[in-house]
Amino acid sequence: MAGRTSRRMGYEGVVLAAPATTPYQRFSKETAHWWIARALRQSLQSAGLSPRDVDGFSVSSFTLFPDTAVGLTQHLGLTPRWLDHIPMGGASGGVALRRAARAVQAGDADIVACVAGDTNHVDSFRRMLSSFSRFAQDASYPYGAGGPNACFALLTDHYMSAYGATREDFGRICVAQRDNALQNPHAVMKKPLTMDQYLGARMVSDPIALFDCVMPVSGAEAFLVMREEDARAAGLPYAHIRGSIERHNAFPEDPIQMRGGWAMDIDELYAMADARPDDMDLLQTYDDYPVISMMQFEDLGFCKKGDGPTFVRERDLTIAGDFPHNTSGGQLSAGQAGAAGGFIGMVEAIRQVTGTAGPTQVEGARTAMVSGFGMINYDRGVCSSAAIISGAGT
């Protein structure tokens, strides 16, 4: 039942470790299998583990066809006793985490490797858009075939007229993330971005312009979920899971998307973590377009609905700022590696709260919120997830 109040079990004794990012490339001749293998190997190596130690495996990818997680087990030589395939795009990081954590907590698996990765061939983006979902195929792709650019342009247009947001407000998010990306050696975007450049960029699907759009790339991200005692025994930096939520097809009666599923569950997330918005040292939102990051500031409780524009005018979203946001540059500046875009914030947040983020490290970061958003099934993102994690910090 929606709205139930019974307390959920916490995630005590389960931790996140061994964050891994395979550096992104704009186009790749390799397959999703290749990219996922690289990230998995990197994560296991950093934890001093071999593939035989993995008894749980969770995969998110759009470009594995005709394979699923099943084919990957044989392909990669894994023999897991717990297997998951999460087709939730941008929400997959939070969802992978909470499912894997419960498996470890229940003893169904000892070490779950969560991996997301996709390849980007020269024509793969067009192919994916034309058959992304049945509703997209039937009711959005035939209308200009603008893909997510056009869908988010509609949401952005409506948000701007409803709340008085300006292009400059969205520009603040993009410019700050580019600033963060310049600290991240793996970010695809390497040049600074000024507000004038942002505002002067060519329109892609009004009011969405070039720097509001992510660059589709190839890449992969991974992390491990295991028992705290095992992580400690191995000497690994780790993060606790203090709470998590997920929701699908929230508010179907809204005529156009003005809020995501977080708005249904955010109080539960804070209650579970025994935390408040002020306790977050940093926030990783899902940022395929800046409007959705702005909605997350609102729906995750950092400001009231409609106050997003004021919030970004008053806060500094850079690594050194008073509200560090998407510290690796996010998808907008680091690139969107398909389903790995649903992991980028989680992997970076694990690094941040374990003090291992290197050049993008937020000073003194111990607690982070990570939120995910995915799957424009027709006119709006259907999946949402969020988690609060804490580590020992720097």
Partner: protein, 419 residues
């Protein structure tokens, strides 16, 4: 305000003719219900047969009560444009070649929000009405118009992509001798067709309305006998590359069924004109038209067949003619499939008995040539695929949809069961 399109310049024969690319034609089976409604220009959505909830996008189960009984119903097309964008870059070649392309979200007064193509004259955030039409891939799409007409609105480039407006287009009407020819030529002249070719069989034989035809602006009478393969091929060689709309108007009609005709002479004539005539025209003119679907403002746009509605269900009093119409109807479906890659529409206009010599003994209502011509031109302006003209045709198709077998039994009454 829409800019009026200008008369297209004469084509430079050295320039490459643009290949027709298409918007995505992939649809689920449920979504083809929208296409079926668009073929007749109706705005229909699924309405749950149990709880009455409106569904969009098309579904296999009701999103309110999970009922799988989701019949399509005509829906109030009024709504409000709550968001819009102009797509300036697209992964699809068809749209990429036609950007900027306006798209919006409309909240229907009836409930759901729908993504639509948006006419250039629709004001931001304004009241709108939705039409459901076939796009170049022959699939139903929703298109937003201003609540009332605006100057030159039919010239909007996005709208012209989903219509087959005769304005500035070159039309070939077959069978100058038919009583319909004058009314058709007048209607196309009024609709702004730039040239109206009229195919004339047996030119040596006089017929009463030739002078009237010649008096219509932009009319050119050309020799064409659809029962003669050489004649059809010769004319196609001359004007096939500039025929934008072809109206297959030739019909051979005689009363009678099987046993009251002692031989197959008329039956053969009916098949020669009504069935093989269509085949000959399509073999000669079809390839050139299919290749010119994207050839500028006067691209090839539509093929029109005038068919008897008794193609659907045989009327024994004209039983052999009905059979030839059924053959032509079936062939038109094949032609439609073959024309689709070129984005050229095949519009069938179904009529009941027409007001002419061969239907003289039948009681009214009968379809007058002017009414038939009006239905054809307005069907082209709306970009339709199926038009039922006159009360008899409309009544018959309703009865056919309700129960083809019941209709067959009704048709066997001597008066056609009132049809």
């Amino acid at each position: 305000m829409t800019d009026a399109i200008l008369p297209p310049p004469k084509k430079d024969p050295q320039k490459r003719t643009r290949t027709q690319t298409l918007p995505s034609g992939l649809r689920s089976r449920a979504a083809l219900g929208l296409t079926a409604a668009a073929a007749e220009g109706r705005f229909m959505l699924q309405v749950c047969g149990e709880c009455g909830a409106l569904q969009y996008p098309p579904r296999d189960a009701c999103s309110t009560c999970l009922s799988t009984d989701l019949p399509w119903r005509d829906i109030d097309p009024a709504g409000e444009l709550i968001a819009e964008t102009t797509v300036r870059t697209s992964t699809n070649t068809y749209f990429r070649e036609r950007t900027p392309w306006r798209v919006g979200t409309v909240r229907l007064d009836a409930g759901p929000s729908v993504m639509c193509h948006v006419h250039g004259d629709v004001p931001r955030g304004g009241r709108v009405r939705i039409i459901n039409r076939l796009d170049k891939s022959g699939q139903g799409v929703l298109y937003v118009l201003p609540p009332e007409g605006t100057p030159n609105m039919e010239d909007d480039p996005q709208l012209r992509e989903i219509t087959a407006d005769p304005k500035f287009r070159r039309v070939l009407i077959t069978d100058a001798r038919s009583e319909n020819a004058v009314a058709l030529a007048e209607a196309f002249a009024k609709a702004g067709a730039s040239i109206i070719f009229i195919g004339e069989p047996e030119g040596w034989r006089p017929y009463p309305h030739r002078a009237a035809l010649e008096a219509i602006p932009n009319v050119q009478i050309v020799p064409l006998d659809v029962t003669d393969t050489a004649s059809v091929a010769e004319l196609a060689g001359e004007i096939g590359g500039k025929t934008d709309i072809l109206v297959n108007n030739a019909r051979f009609v005689r009363p009678g069924g099987i046993m009251d005709r002692g031989d197959t002479v008329f039956a053969r004539d009916e098949m020669e004109v009504n069935y093989l005539g269509l085949m000959r025209l399509a073999q000669s003119f079809g390839p050139a038209m299919r290749g010119r679907g994207a050839d500028g403002d006067n691209s090839a746009a539509a093929w029109v067949n005038i068919l008897s509605v008794y193609a659907y269900s045989n009327m024994p009093a004209f039983g052999a003619f009905s059979a030839s119409s059924a053959a032509a109807y079936s062939l038109s479906q094949c032609l439609r499939a073959e024309m689709r890659p070129g984005g050229v529409r095949v519009m069938n206009v179904y009529t009941g008995p027409t007001d002419d010599a061969w239907h003289q003994p039948l009681p009214p209502p009968k379809v007058a040539p002017a009414a038939l011509a009006r239905a054809i031109v307005s069907g082209l302006k709306d970009g339709l695929e199926d038009v039922f003209v006159g009360d008899v045709a409309k009544d018959l198709i309703e009865r056919w949809r309700t129960g083809a077998k019941v209709l067959e039994r009704e048709m066997s009454e001597t008066d056609g069961g009132g049809a």
